[in-house]
Each structure stands twice: as structure tokens, then as C-alpha cells.
Amino acid sequence: MSMPHDPDLEDVLQDQELRRVADLLREARMTEPPLDDAFRSDLRRRLMSQAWGMGGGGTPWWRKVFGPTGMVWATAAVGVILIGAVVVLTATNQPGPSDQVVVSSQLANQSAVRLQQPIQVTFNQPMDHRSTEAAVQIAPATTVAFSWHENTLSVTPTAGNLAPNTQYQVTIGPGAKTASGQSLTAPKTITFVTQPPPPSPSPTPTVKPTPPPTVLTNQHLLASMPDGITNVLWSPDSTTVYFVTGKGALESVPAIGGNPTVLAPDGVGSVAINPAGDQLAYIRKGNIQILAIGQGTTTEVVPAAAPVLVGWATSGVEWATADGVYTVGPGGQGKVAALPATGTATAISFAPDGAHLAYALDQSLSVLDLATGKSTVLGLPGAHFQGWSPDGTGVMYSGAQAVVLADLGGRNTTSLPAGEPSWSSQDEVLLGSDVNLFVMRPDASGQTKLADGTFHLPAWAPNGIAFTYFRSGELYTASAPTPAPPATSPLDAAASVVNLFMKARKDNPDRANAYLDDNGRKAYMSSTGGLNLQVTGDPSFSRYYVLTGQITGSHPDTAQFVVRIVLAHNSLDVKSLEETLTLVRTQGSQQFLVDQAAAGPVLTLGATAEVVSVDVTATSVKVTFDSDLKPETVTAGVIILDSKGKQIGNMPAYAKRTVTVDGLDLKAGKSYKLVVLSTVQDVGGSNIAAEYDLTFSGPADTHGDRHRDTSPSPIPQPSPTATPSS
């Protein structure tokens, strides 16, 4: 029987026999598989629910709310925009009896929450969607849409992201009911603070070459393993890759390629290499084998209880069992630290320095400090361990559609997009997935796609250049581009000093003097009428952020920053104070120091819209608010004045909480004023509490690229000449 000609295979199957086999293969037609229509429609429904949680792109919110497909959401979206005073309760709920409604959120009490993510609120039992959505209040005023996945409610701002530098309070009011009709006994509030806005692009667009589809080099196959892979690790000198196959064989292969060498034929579980790279420990047949790599000899440790995980501490090999962590000391085997006796604890991974152990206890993820025996819970129940920082001081775990990076206390978290991560010694994080590979800094900056394609289990070499990945039953290696050095433009250098100065004022005011020059020390000499370097009292100094900053002059480089100090009472932002700092780069050390400072009045933070970021270029000013605004109140309510009080620029444009005034021609070093009139209203109809004024300077010409490094910018160090004034 002759099959239709396939030009695709013309040069592949030239032999007549081969073509006949191909024809036979093509002749078998698939029968229709059994298909449950209910499954098909249920999957579609779940996808749509998930899609709502992801939010839309640029479609105006009112179109989404009132358009045909969004009509069903209208009640919910409108129901949450009216914000009043928010009841303050503890954001973290203690587990209660099973009939109590427990509300939790991974964002609770976080301090640098990523802007592009929904606010996810999890309940311990099925909820009635309608009443729960109607009971949600969010401050500042934000138009949102809702979606559900099982017992988790995703609240997504229709603007597409959260406002920067903003303390959010999301309250689930007592009107929320469970699926069985039970009401919340009291409102629950989740409080968190968002991270600063991403750096704005260069004011003058520059033509960038289109990146090639892949920027990886030295890509080559290391080994095939159709049965999968369970472990990959690099030698400390980045020359050898060790791996355990799905069948439990431990093998090694040179990183430059070559034939794999079988080190143990089967039955290998956990494996770890010592810091010197000359000993490999692995679990096989219930014992720990230690292979001297250079000599090929193996010694055996026979633990009293079955080991499940092996690692290396500075003192030697260590292993975890079901009840704790053990090592071999001068007096024989001994327990280093105990795992919890209640519940089912499962050791997952030793930190690279061997000082901590990640383990799962029932549904939660924890880190055990082997020195103190204390455990810290990471994330919400259901979080999965995803890796360590190379120095063992940071940990990565799965969050809500994100990879969460945290310190070992579970604090100072940042969120990266979901994926399979690996953290390098060059402080870069690879994120692999089914479809592509990204690299970024641990603070989520510098996100760059390295390649399309499947990149499972990425694992950086210790040199931070090469890495391995797993694809379709094969282990590959490749080299990533050398990470670009951090941007050190004058603006970045000055911003870095501002951050160090403000951090010192908050945590250790004595050290803050190191960032002041002689004039700056006079400006902060409170005994002679200057400002207070140390902010004390109640409400207390809880956080700060840079509202705006520009390079305002050169020769010497001069920068002006407006910093907002937020004062809190019982963890809630209640007042703010703005300081305008002028920094000058010293001739000798080339370091920026604070030269002048001026403070504005202490303002009360109310329930109305606040300005949280002002981005100034020579031709435009972008003012970002923490609330969604009524667009019609913006055009006459946001004004830019020159030094003579004359209004300048085009009519303001409003989109996604940001008001843009363009058509400006700001001169370097000249004084300008942003005025936000009290006629501006948020979407709830509340006017701004009082007129807001911000004086700023025109930015200096930085040749159209303010991120370009025009002069050496050393990493800021405390000034060696600075001494506390007395």
C-alpha cells in the first residue's frame, strides 16, 4: 500500500525498506480515546479561575468589570473599593479548633513584597465565595478582582500590580461565611509592605541589539539517563559532575564531557562531597560509604539508625535519621541535634556549610540550626524546599506561584517568578522550567532570558559560570554569560549612600555619621538647631524609602534625594516625615557624602491616597500614588510649578495609579515644585487629606543615559575621616 509522499522525510529515509516501515507506522490510525466531557469543562473552568488570579494586562479595569466576560465580577470588584478605617488585629492566626475559621497569608508581615503578584488569603476550610469576597476590604483604596483555588482567595489589583513603598492592610470582615454558613467570629487583617518601584528606563531610548535566542555557550551532553536523575552535584573546583541516576547508580563525568564513570552501581540515595573535594559520602544499603576520590578506596560508617540524608560539616561527615542529625566525633557517633519528636519529620537537605538542615514536618517546611537545636518555620504550610544560597545563609522555597528567597530566620524575603532555582556564587539565580531559562539577581532585578527550551534541575557550578540541567532523560552542561557588573552610575552610587545612611540611622545611629561631610554633620547637629540624626519616640521609626532622587550637578557630582521616614505605632504606619538630602561626591575618595539636609513637617497618614514615588526626568515627572484614583480628578489636581510659580508641562495623564506630566524642559539644578491638590480623589471618593507639595531639582544632563558610569564609583564605605560630632 502506498502512502502519501512526505517531503519532510525525503532526505531521512532514502532506503526503500525504511520507507516501507515508515508507511506502516503511518497507517495505524488512533482510535478516539475515552473522554469525560465533565473533565474537559471542569479543566476549562479551573484554567479560567487560575487566569483570573493572574490578572489581565492593559485592559482598562472598567472594561473588565463591565464588559461581557467580566460582568460576573462587577459586584465583587466594586464591593472592595470603599475603604474606611481598618480594624487592626494580629495578622498571623494561631491554629484554633477545627470549627474556627483560620485565615492566613504568606504575605503577612512581609516587608518587601513583590509588586507583580496577587494577594493570596488562605482559609482552613471551604468558604462561601460571594460573602467572603463582599467582606474583603483593602487599604489603600484599590480596585480588585477575585479568584479562588480550593480554599485560597486571590485578590488581584486590576491595575496589574501593587503600589510600591506601600503598607497594605487586607481585612476579611465578619460578613465572610464558610460554605456551611458559619461566620467569622472577628475580622482578620493581613498587613504587609511592598518593595520600591523598579528602576525606570533610561530617559532617552537607546537602541539595543536584539538578543540572540540563546546566549548560552559550551552546551553539551554529559550523560543519558532515561530512568531519570535524583541528585546532581559539582566538585568544588567545578571540573567534575557527580550524579545519581533514577536506578540509584552513582556516576561521575568530567564537566568538559567524556564517558561517565560508575562509582557505585545501584542503591545510592543521598550523596554529598566534602569542601576539599576529595571525599564523597553517600548512603547505600543503609550505611554511609565514604569514597576517597583520588585513591578509589571506600570506608564505611554503620549508623545505629537508618540514615536518610548525608552531608559534610566542617568537622566531617554528618547524616540525618528520622530523629535527628548525627556525626562521628572522637568518642564515636553522637547526636548533634534532634528533630521534633511529634509529627513526621523528614530531612530534606543540609546547607552547603553543614550548619543547618532543611526538613519537612508534616505539611510545613523548617530549618534546624544544628548549633542551637532551634527550628524556624519557613513560609506557609505546603511550602517546598528549593535550595540554599551558596554560603548557606539563605534558603529558597516555593511560595504562591513564586520562588521565595529568605534568610534562615524566614525573614527579609523576596519573591522571584516560579521555577526551578539555583543560586550561584556570583549571586545570580537561575530559574529553569519546561519552556525557558531565566537568570536574575536574588533581589529579582536584572531578569534576563538565557534560552528557550526545557531546563529542569539547573545546578550552578561553584565557579558560577557553568551549570548543569536535565532535559528529556539527558544531563547537559552549559556556560552562562558572565554576569554584568552592577550598575554604578553616579545616581546609583548616591542612592547606595542614601540607603546606607538611612539604614544606619534606623539601626545604629552612631554609624550614620560616617556618611556625613562637615556640612552634613552641622545639618544633623540637633544641639545647635539642626536635625535629629536619631529618630526616637512613639510612634517609632519603622521604615524609610526614597521618594525621588536625581543627579543635579557635576564637578563635583551632586545629587538630591527626598527620603520619607515612616513612623509606626503597633506596626501600623501612622505618620511620615520627609527629609531632602543633598549629596556631594568628594574629590579624594570619590564617595558621595550627605552635605545638606532639610526636613519637612510630620504628616499624619490617613485613609486617603498618598504619593509613594516621584520619577523625574528632564522632560517628564511621574507621580505614583498608593491608591487607585478617579481619573477625572487628576487633570486639574496634579501640577508642576517652576521657580517663579508658573505652571509648566502638558495636561496630566493618568494610568494605573501613576500621573504623568510630560512636555517639560527641566533645567539641571533649578528648583521645581510638585503640587497635588486636595481635590484629587481615590476611587472610593475620598479626597486627599491635605495638599501635598514636593520641591525637587531638575536633573543634570547625563548624556541621555543616567545608568552610564561616567566616573569611577567605588563601593561606598564609611568615611575614614568622619567622627561623631560632639
Binding site: D8, L18, A28, P33, R40, G57, S472
Partner: protein, 185 residues
């Protein structure tokens, strides 16, 4: 020359990238094809449903990062499918016999010939299942899913040349292993 179907698909993809809620149209368009492919590999309805759910959920989440390389959107879905099935295979082998799945009805020739021919096809597909996973995947995508080499390359994360090599090796191995496939003298 523009292809109206491809243009329409491109538009749907762009809409879904901008707004994930538009993904439903792509789901409707490709569900049957992907489900059939998954079922052909896992041979069990519940497993096929699980894997198909996983594929479309992953596709939805990755939609904002999808980049049009000029190949059909389905090639990308197959790429996710191949990986999802590979993951599944690591823990679960298909259990149903192959004969249950491929329709071997052949029109026209006499009954004896039909039976012999059917037997040939049955045996050659049984041999496909025993091929190394990469060769098997390439042959299934080519001969069962009737995909172009370029699209298979996308689905398998390989170059077209590598796919051709896999197909050549796979078919050659089938020829070598199936003595009984030779035409009757």
C-alpha cells in the same frame, strides 16, 4: 503569503499573552489534540486527565513568557506534553496493551491480507514502544501526530537535524528488529 489560520492563531496567542483570561480560546482549540496524544502515551483515562490538566496549567502560567518562533502554538504545547509525560513515565508505565489503542482497520484488501497487514502494523508499533525514549518520542510525534520535523524539534528541544537522526535511527532499528515485516514473497 499569509496563512489565515496561522494569523488567527497568532492573534489568539497575543491576546492570551496580554490577558491570561483569553487562554480559553487556545484551550478549546488544542484540548482534543493534546488529550489524544497524552492518552496514547499513558493509556489510562485518569492518568491522561491528570497529565492533560498539568500541561494546560503549565501552559497558562507560562503564557506571558511564550515567544512566537514562527512554529505553530501546538508545537509548544507538545513540548510541555513530552516533558510532562516523561515525568509521569518515571513513576508510571503504561499498562494497557497497544492493540487497544490503534485502530487497525484497513479498507479494501482481502480479509487474509488485511489480517496479515494488521498484524504487521501491530508488531511494528509494539517495537516502537521498546525503542529508546528519544527515538520513540520522535517517531510518535512524526507518524502518529503527523507533525513536521521543525515542530518536533521545538517539542523535543532539539535541532531539526537531531530529530531527523532520531527518526532515521528509530526506523532503522525497527527494520532490523522486525524480520517478519518484510513483504510476503
Amino acid at each position: 503569503m499569509s496563512d489565515p489560520q496561522r494569523d488567527e492563531e497568532r492573534e489568539l496567542v497575543e491576546q492570551a499573552k496580554r490577558d491570561p483570561r483569553q487562554f480559553g480560546a487556545l484551550y478549546d482549540r488544542h484540548f482534543q489534540q493534546i488529550y489524544r496524544f497524552v492518552y496514547s502515551r499513558v493509556r489510562e483515562q485518569t492518568a491522561a486527565e491528570d497529565v492533560t490538566s498539568e500541561i494546560f496549567m503549565k501552559a497558562l502560567k507560562a503564557m506571558p513568557r511564550y515567544q512566537d518562533t514562527g512554529r505553530p502554538f501546538a508545537a509548544w504545547l507538545y513540548q510541555i506534553s513530552v516533558n510532562a509525560i516523561a515525568d509521569r513515565y518515571r513513576t508510571l508505565r503504561p499498562s494497557s496493551p497497544l492493540e487497544d489503542f490503534h485502530d487497525l482497520s484497513i479498507a479494501e484488501p482481502p480479509l487474509e491480507e488485511q489480517a496479515a497487514h494488521r498484524d504487521e502494523i501491530r508488531r511494528i508499533w509494539a517495537l516502537v514502544e521498546a525503542l529508546p525514549v528519544q527515538q520513540k518520542t520522535a517517531l510518535v510525534l512524526k507518524f502518529q501526530e503527523d507533525m513536521k520535523i521543525e515542530d518536533i524539534a521545538v517539542a523535543m528541544g532539539k535541532t531539526p537535524g537531531a530529530v531527523k537522526l532520531l527518526i532515521h535511527r528509530g526506523v532503522s532499528r525497527l527494520r532490523d528488529e522486525a524480520d517478519s515485516l518484510r513483504p510476503a514473497e
